[in-house]
């Protein structure tokens, strides 16, 4: 295992120290492992927090700031944060208008945020609502299982609901908006290599030099199937086709994200995005906004994921609204 870390057991604590040093506009509570805006938002506004296992940077700490999140709770690598962390953050960010929890759909995340909501409501009476993102079309959707994973859409959702909260929409409206975004977004990912969890010390799975995993999430889980390594044009089809098959995206302007998994350099993402854009155009999807880069990563995994969100004028307006975080910044 080759990583720029100290003791694998201290990766999270060490990374939080680095985040604090790198971003004076953030405040880090090292005891509870929560990243806050240094300057809290104004009273009477809905607050939004998210969180999850670490190893997905810039998600979520990189999205804390004006126009997006109020706080991010950092769990151990690939391990959701604990209820006490989330409860602490929930109470701290409430400005009297309630708190939205943005949770990625994983059993652990869902249970820990659930317990946190119970704790916070009991302790301080804060009104907590939750949206669980579940956008990964690689997973069969079924009421008999844990359902779909929450992946790339989480980034777009946090941006959009963050803008709504900032402009003063109330908690019910923000929750409804979150649900609307969640319903209209789909993602799909592939991996060229496994990642290595620091505490595990070796790759989560072995992938031969001539194969790739199709349908991976963001935790180094094996995907749905293994196929021969293919050129970017074919990889693009492996991403675009299942996303469009699951939800017709031709009707409305789309916000598209091509996301790198952490170990893939930007030049490759651009090569792949060229192919993705071509396929989307061929399919008649009107791409209105796009992000290409590392936004929700999986440690050092090489690979990429595609997210397509069907938007409307309202969502585009919220998308374009000012955001000032280390991971996304415009209009400020």
């Amino acid at each position: 295992m080759k990583k720029l870390i100290n003791d694998p057991a201290n990766v999270l604590a060490d990374a939080l120290r680095g985040i604090e040093a790198a971003h004076p506009e953030l405040r880090v509570d090292h005891q509870h492992r929560v990243i806050y805006r240094a300057e809290p938002k104004q009273d009477g506004r809905v607050a939004i927090i998210s969180g999850g296992g670490s190893g997905h940077e810039p998600l979520h700490g990189g999205f804390v700031g004006p126009g997006m999140l109020d706080a991010a709770c950092a769990g151990e690598v690939f391990t959701s944060p604990t209820p006490d962390q989330v409860a602490e953050a929930t109470t701290a960010v409430d400005r009297g208008a309630g708190v939205l929890h943005v949770v990625k759909n994983y059993t652990g995340d869902v249970m820990n945020f659930e317990m946190a909501g119970e704790l916070a409501a009991a302790d301080s009476g804060v009104r907590v609502e939750t949206v669980v993102t579940a956008d990964d079309v690689a997973v069969q959707d079924s009421t008999y299982t844990a359902g779909r994973r929450g992946v790339g859409l989480t980034v777009l959702l946090e941006k959009i609901v963050g803008a709504a909260a900032e402009e003063g929409q109330d908690l019910d409206a923000v929750v409804a908006l979150a649900q609307r975004v969640n319903d209209a977004g789909r993602s799909m990912g592939i991996a060229l290599t496994s990642c290595t969890v620091p505490a595990a010390g070796k790759p989560t799975f072995d992938l031969p030099e001539d194969e790739m995993e199709v349908g991976v999430g963001i935790h180094g889980e094996p995907g749905r199937r293994r196929v021969p390594l293919a050129p970017a044009s074919e990889v693009a089809a492996l991403l675009v086709e299942p996303v469009l098959a699951d939800r017709d995206a031709t009707g409305s302007p789309a916000i598209v994200m091509l996301n790198g998994m952490g170990g893939t350099p930007l030049i490759e993402l651009y090569v792949l995005y060229g192919e993705v854009a071509r396929l989307l155009a061929d399919a008649g999807v009107p791409v209105a906004r796009r992000l290409v880069g590392n936004y929700i990563t999986s440690l050092d995994m090489a690979g990429a994921s595609l997210t397509v969100l069907g938007a409307d004028e309202d969502l585009l307006r919220l998308w374009d609204a000012p955001v000032d975080t280390s991971g996304l910044r415009w209009g400020v």
Partner: protein, 220 residues
Amino acid sequence: MADTDTGTVTQAQLVGWLAAFRDAVHEHGAHLTELDSAIGDADHGSNLVRGMDAVMVAVEAPPDSVGALLKKVGMTLVTSVGGASGPLYGTFFLRAGTAAGDATELDAAALAAVLRAAVEGVVARGKADRGDKTMYDALGPALEAYDAALASGADAAGAARAAADAAARGRDATEPMQALKGRASYLGERSIGHVDPGSASATLLVEALAAALADPPADP
């Protein structure tokens, strides 16, 4: 067997159970993570090592009652583990603690009730059915075997031994299952052919109980 003088399980024995589980997750942590690598995210071992290390610090001065002890264990797991196993094992011990209440020791039947509450807590929290390929596939059979052994006249130690053996069989039975809960479910059919990591750690937990109650230890 349980405490030879009184036939009951003492708080010291329960702390012995926890210590034995801590030792087991240290010894088998890499294996648990290995199982989690195949169908999960490669952290189950480190999650439980972190949790049980925190637990043993928390119970250095054991509380006054079995209920308080087990609740403290549950709260410590909830606040130190995270992931799926944190709330699940945390709820296991929190519910166990509630069931144990003010008692300072447990007889074999009281232990049965405590274990039942604990396992029901896991089900309430995780909503898994038997056959979903989770820790419940080890814990459920363990609970049934404990009750059955008790009904056939075994003491707590004997019942715990029967429970541990049943847990191990339950764990092994997860291998051919397709996961329907937890992150292994995302793999669909690719989850078949691997033992569920939580069922493996749950077996270590019940095995640790059997070892702690055995006197002299059955399996030194």
